[in-house]
Amino acid sequence: MRRPAPRRRGTLLAVAFLLPNLVLLGVFTYRPLLDNIRLSFTDWNISSPTATYIGFANYVEWFTSSASHAVLWNTAVFTAAAVIGSMALGLALALLLDRPLFGRNAVRSLVFAPFVVAGAAVGVAFQFVFDPTFGLVQDLLARVGVAAPAFYQDPEWALFMVTATYVWKNLGYTFVIYLAALQGRRAELDEAAEIDAASAWTKFRRVTWPQLRPATFFLLITVLLNSFQVFDIIDTMTRGGPLGNGTTTMVYQVYQETFVNQRAGFGATVATVMFLILLVVTLLQVRVMERGQER
């Protein structure tokens, strides 16, 4: 029997390794994605076995609804604040704990710990932190004579509350990535900067920060995607309120339309719009990163 040519054998091997993963991706990711897009053109009550094709009616309704505009705004504010907040604080902590400090390993563990806690548990715990009557925040503010804001009744403070909670939970993730990047940077560049008597700021801006760019781009994409998907913290803390949609983001709108208003077709439309927004944002990010690398 003749053995297959090395090139053909390599191809077969590649197929053998790739096929199971491609099948899983196709069945569990891309098929549901296509199914979702199909459903977005239907009027489908989640409890009904049948869906009726209605063309672009759901899309017209979503794009012309003032509620959807509010939801889009909430999503943009939450995502921007969550991405910037968790990355800036994560970087600051990583810079601090990259130094030889007493007990830094313990502190590193503490900073990372919230990231592995379930979002729903964090949401429930922070309900008490922000409780207007018994909460930690209220207590701390009262000690300096400041009345606690109406976290659960003022939509802007409610959005701040869920964002701050999410940043706290996510901080460990950005911290670990930045810390790994800092520890992998080239020591000789730091030494050269020190020999040149560069100030701490100049050293960070000219030497450290450029080496953190890949980590920053990676975090920008992953944190943005994760922030867009936050559901559990909002569900446990505010249920999308106050005043109806004070903290309703697009993911939460998908849930509300599908399971509360029973409009699974419309929920699929919101999910599809969200998918397209994320696709465009991700494409732009990748493009910017590629250009940065080309330079």
Binding site: L25, F28, T29, Y30, P32, L33, D35, N36, L39, W44, N45, I46, S47, S48, P49, T50, A51, D131, P132, T133, F134, A150, Y152, Q153, I221, L225, F228, Q229, T238, R239, G240, G241, P242, L243, G244, N245, V251, V254, Y255, Q256, T258, F259, V260, N261, Q262, R263, A264, G267, A268, A271, T272, M274, F275, L278, L279, T282, L283, V286, R287, E290
Partner: protein, 435 residues
């Protein structure tokens, strides 16, 4: 393709995969689920019961199911299908789209109708005949809550009404008689006294719009002669409904009534003198508070108390054998003896007419006079307005509107006008074509 050309594509693919998973988080396919016992006919050996254990009822549910197993020889899997009625409905909807269906499911006052309208749960009338269920034994108003087009789609299980709770010490400090206010006007007179003599605590706290304010306010609307709807005609803009909304807003502005996301704790910690809350919270509140709690009917002048809570339903798409076995389980869980046991463990209403005369009930009522209030109030309850319980998203929609006129301070006529318009639109789009 070069390596540098492939990189963005690979990254993009990875991102798209993540996004796709997200995009589908709320949407399943429309494939209908098959019978849960595709194995065919024959005696039913096991049943699955999906519950959220309303009123912290898991221990008593387990006890009742063990008794059923001993009596019938049928094993019952008690599944925690969510932490509230909405989560159970969500899981049930997911099962309808292709998962494994339970045999008995808890269906709340706001979730059962959509299931009935879409043939997801089965009409019970024929099953009652087949399994000798005495439907007339159930409290009429509670049984009829599940009637649609002449058929019944659930039997009452964990049924509740709102109740007026008050802190007796604060009442005494304000020099008020040991009873609830008989009218909302009387309440408006009492509230300043309560605030003045109790260190400025909120005279009354109500759960906010995300926590069923729409349910508690419904009784208030009725006492003003208004309603959310008259069957499928929306009545948010009637003079009486507007008057009730204006009264609520005035009471909120005058700090006679506070609206909170955590009303129970606020009342239990002595930060409010009174509370409107479900009878299902009676046991929990009584156990948690370190002061004496009094209970009363909701203020009038006319009776204004809606029913609420949940019933037990059977999926349409299971076999007839399973339906009959499920009906027997429901009948067992809600018979006189067991509804008395369930009520005493949770604070929910007994659902059988003769439960009040059960030998276990008399000593219990003597020891728990607050529960007697809840029981007596049952006689003046009414089924809820369609706009809240039968329209998809009705409760959440009205709750958000009530948040807007209290917390948001928006004009009552404008907000109620929008509620009227939106509710009508939902009816015409989602309900009318299916009637």
């Amino acid at each position: 393709m070069t390596a540098s050309g492939r990189r963005p594509l690979l990254r993009l693919t990875g991102a798209a995969a993540t996004i796709a998973a997200l995009a589908l988080s709320g949407c399943a396919g429309t494939g209908s689920s098959e019978d849960s016992d595709a194995g065919g006919s024959g005696p039913v050996e096991t049943l699955t019961f999906w519950s959220n254990h309303p009123g912290e009822s898991k221990p008593v549910e387990t006890e009742l199911l063990e008794a059923f197993e001993a009596e019938s020889g049928i094993e019952v899997n008690l599944v925690t299908a969510g932490k509230n009625y909405e989560e159970v409905a969500q899981k049930f909807n997911a099962a309808l789209s292709g998962g494994e269906l339970p045999d008995v499911v808890v269906a709340s006052d706001v979730t059962w109708f959509n299931f009935a309208l879409n043939d997801a749960i089965t009409p019970m009338d024929d099953l009652w005949s087949a399994t000798d269920v005495d439907s007339e034994g159930y409290v009429d108003s509670l049984r009829e809550d599940y009637e649609f087009e002449g058929e019944h789609f659930a039997l009452p299980y964990a049924r509740s009404t709102p109740l007026f709770y008050y802190n007796k010490a604060m009442w005494a400090a304000a020099g008020l008689p040991d009873r609830g206010p008989e009218t909302w006007e009387e309440w408006a007179e009492w509230a300043p006294k309560l605030a003045a003599t109790n260190g400025g605590v909120a005279p009354m706290v109500l759960p906010d719009g995300s926590n069923y304010l729409d349910w508690y306010f419904q009784g208030m609307v009725w006492t003003f002669g208004g309603s959310y709807s008259d069957e499928w005609d929306m009545t948010f803009t009637s003079d009486e409904t507007i008057e009730a909304g204006t009264f609520l807003q005035d009471q909120y502005r005058q700090q006679h009534i506070a609206v909170s996301n955590d009303a129970n704790n606020q009342f239990g910690a002595g930060q409010a003198a009174a509370l409107l809350q479900s009878t299902g919270s009676l046991k929990g509140l009584t156990g948690a508070a370190d002061f004496e709690i009094g209970t009363a009917f909701l203020p009038g002048p006319t009776p204004g108390c809606p029913t609420g809570g949940a019933g037990l339903a059977i999926p349409e798409r299971i076999s007839d054998e399973r339906k009959e076995a499920a009906m027997e389980l429901i009948s067992f869980l809600t018979n006189t003896e067991n509804t008395v046991k369930f009520s005493q463990a949770t604070g929910y209403m007994p659902v059988q007419k003769d439960a009040v005369d059960h030998p276990d009930m008399k000593p219990f009522l003597e020891q728990n006079p607050n529960f007697r209030t809840a029981l007596e109030q049952l006689e003046v309850t009414s089924s809820q307005d369609y706009a809240r319980v039968l329209l998809p998203g009705g409760g959440a929609r009205i709750g958000a509107g009530l948040d807007r006129i209290t917390i948001g301070g928006e004009d009552v006529k404008t907000v109620f006008g929008q509620l009227d318009e939106e509710s009508t639109q939902v009816y015409e789009r989602d309900i009318e074509p299916k009637l």
